[in-house]
């Protein structure tokens, strides 16, 4: 993304001090710990971190999709000024998909295997726009054309489509109601590299033409830096660094961010051994972020922490 969107208007999403806990039998685990961020209109905000750092949990919390034993235990989520956590079930239902939509990790399992993809798209229109079935069907066909799938595929069942096509269908569904915010939770991890590229290009194109904001989640740093305007790095439920994507890539300040960026080999140039965190290095009690450069927030690292990378 080359141009940064204007930031004068109010943010679409404002998350403040969000905490999510999993209540287990014997212990309680805080998967998201006092996390704050905002996403502006038309902005693509990336959330990076390793598997299990809490990024998916945070994304699900935004749409209040968490289920027992996970529960939001603190903080606020404001969507265009509305307090999402205060909505009742019916208000929440109308907010979902119309205002915030989501593309899930695995398109295979997020589509109902016993319904045609057409019926699953039609469901959206008949529920939210109270369209008649025949009209909804036409709209569904248009949607498929938008992601360049033959509208004849409406009658197909999910298992009859390729992985890439399924993910396109899911993306088409996500933009069906022209939502303000699109959450994408690792939308391409289940796909091979070529298809991944096509899908990402498609998402970028849709974002340019429709202008929605994106909360983009991945553990693939290069993909994220390519696509996002601003991004945050998450570790063990905490943010360790937030900055404009290119700035963060060029000058990573937190050792964990450096390790994450170094974990991906450069595509060209000589082979260099990958350098990661030293064996056994753990960050605990991560402090709140401090602005170390304009727009570049970093969690201070306690002095004396041994973090330099050992040879892999």
């Amino acid at each position: 993304m080359s141009t940064h969107p204007s930031r004068d208007d109010a943010p679409v999403l404002e998350v403040t001090d969000l905490s999510v806990e999993y209540h287990g039998e014997h212990r309680t685990v805080r998967a998201v710990d006092r996390v704050s961020f905002t996403i502006g209109r038309g902005e693509i905000f990336g959330l990076a971190g390793e598997s299990g750092c809490g990024k998916s949990t945070a994304a699900n919390a935004v749409m209040r999709l968490l289920r027992e034993p996970a529960a939001i235990t603190g903080g606020t989520i404001r969507f265009q000024g509305r307090d999402v956590l205060a909505l009742d079930a019916e208000e929440l239902r109308t907010l979902r998909w119309r205002e915030v939509a989501m593309v899930f990790q695995s398109a295979m399992s997020s589509l109902n295997p016993v319904m045609t993809v057409g019926d699953q798209i039609v469901d959206i229109f008949t529920t939210h726009e109270r369209l008649r079935k025949s009209v909804a069907r036409e709209r569904a066909a248009e949607l498929l054309e938008l992601v360049r799938i033959d509208p004849g595929r409406l009658r197909s069942y999910p298992h009859q489509l390729s992985g890439g096509m399924r993910q396109r269908v899911v993306i088409a569904m996500a933009v069906a109601l022209r939502p303000q915010l699109l959450i994408m939770d690792e939308p391409t991890t289940a796909l091979d590299v070529v298809v991944q590229q096509e899908i990402m290009a498609q998402i970028a194109e849709l974002q340019r033409s429709l202008g929605f904001s994106v909360l983009f989640i991945t553990h693939d740093m290069s993909l994220m830096i390519e696509l996002s305007h601003r991004m945050a790095v998450m570790y063990a439920g905490r943010f360790v660094e937030t900055a404009p994507a290119r700035d963060l890539f060029a000058h990573p300040r937190h050792p964990y961010t450096r390790a994450l960026i170094n974990a991906f080999p450069p595509l060209s140039g000589p082979n260099t051994p990958l350098v990661g965190l030293r064996e056994g290095v753990r960050f605990t009690d991560i402090p709140d972020l401090r602005e170390e450069a304009p727009g570049h927030w970093v969690a201070p690292v306690p002095v004396g922490t041994v973090i330099d990378g050992g040879r892999a």
Binding site: N60, M63, L65, R67, L92, R93, T94, L95, R96, W97, R98, A101, M102, F104, Q105, S106, S109, S110, L111, N112, P113, V114, M115, T116, D123, I124, T127, H128, Y157, H159, Q160, V170, M173
Partner: protein, 325 residues
């Protein structure tokens, strides 16, 4: 289509196993129950009938493979010998005159138990921890722990003997001629209530819990989360997304359950003297009527296999993933 053909092959194998078992039992069992039975009833049989029985049970001196082929021949021509307990009616005739009542009893009970049990399971899973979910399962498990026939005895004693609300025995009042008239049909229905209710009561818990557990597993699928994220109405998610998928394993176990329900129906018939094959089976057992026992076994097995095949065809309609191959 390949799925259906494969299943058909499987049922043929199952049928072959049943027929072969039926063939082998009288020939290789220790002791000689068959000749005991024959000597007992020889006085009433014509010499031809005795010879026919000897052939049926392998007491003639032909080599086993010839006997086996001959046995298959009689299975296909519907020749299962003569019933001893209902001498001299042929076994096939005895069964034909009674299978209808068993189908009526078993079918009614199965249908009611499946519909109500699965509906309860869906609701219980949807409202986890609700009244339905916390009260009903233990109660139904407890009720389901009783033997079919004992519950039948209790129901017969309580509602039949003591309270006199329902008729005590048989499928219709003696003296009425079977017809399509409302009088006869309501009489049949009144006779059906107690036996069917006991079967429903015993089997409904299994359906409810099976459905509930499948629904709970289904509810954690990604497509349910996605459906919630889509802002669909709860009723639609529950029925079209969760229950619709949870039905698939239920359909599979439906086929399996037919056999169990048949067993339950047979025992219940005995208690209510309901004139189906189960009641006939009791008579066959006490009279050492081996031809009838074997005939009933084969008939019921064949019926269960056919029912399972029909269930498979329904399954193909329900699951698009096996429909196209």
């Amino acid at each position: 289509m390949r799925f259906v053909v494969r299943r058909l092959g499987f049922y043929l194998v199952a049928f072959w196993v049943s027929v072969t078992l039926n063939f082998l039992l009288p020939r290789f069992m220790p002791g000689d129950p068959v000749s005991r039975m024959l000597s007992q009833s020889q006085g009433r049989m014509t010499p031809e009938q005795v010879d026919q029985m000897r052939v049926l049970f392998g007491l003639d001196q032909r080599p086993v493979w010839q006997q086996y082929l001959g046995y298959w021949h009689s299975v296909f021509t519907g020749d299962m010998g003569v019933s001893i307990s209902r001498f001299p009616t042929p076994v096939t005739e005895v069964i034909a005159s009674q299978i209808g009542w068993t189908v009526l009893l078993g079918g009614t009970a199965l249908l009611i138990a499946v519909v109500i049990g699965n509906a309860l399971g869906i609701l219980a899973a949807w409202r986890r921890g609700g009244v339905l979910d916390s009260v009903l399962p233990p109660v139904l498990v407890f009720v389901g722990s009783f033997p079919y026939f004992w519950l039948a005895m209790g129901a017969l004693y309580l509602f039949g003997v003591t309270l006199g609300w329902f008729p005590l025995r048989h499928a219709f009042t003696a003296g009425l001629t079977p017809s399509g008239s409302p009088v006869f049909l309501s009489d049949v229905a009144a006779h059906l209530v107690l036996p069917a209710a006991t079967i429903v009561l015993v089997s409904i818990g299994g359906w409810m819990l099976g459905m509930r557990n499948t629904m709970i597993a289904t509810n954690s699928e990604d497509y349910i989360v996605m459906a919630e994220a889509k802002g669909l109405r709860p009723a639609r998610i529950m029925l079209r997304y969760a229950a619709r998928n949870a039905t698939l394993p239920a359909v599979t176990s439906f086929g399996m359950a037919i056999g169990f329900v048949v067993g339950g129906a047979l025992l219940t018939e005995v208690v209510f003297a309901y004139p189906g094959v189960g009641y006939q089976l009791l008579g066959a057992v006490s009279a050492l009527d081996y031809p009838l026992m074997q005939g009933i076994f084969l008939t019921i097995t064949a019926a269960v296999l056919v029912a399972n095949f029909l269930v498979d065809i329904v399954y193909v309609r329900l699951d698009p993933r096996v429909r196209v191959s």
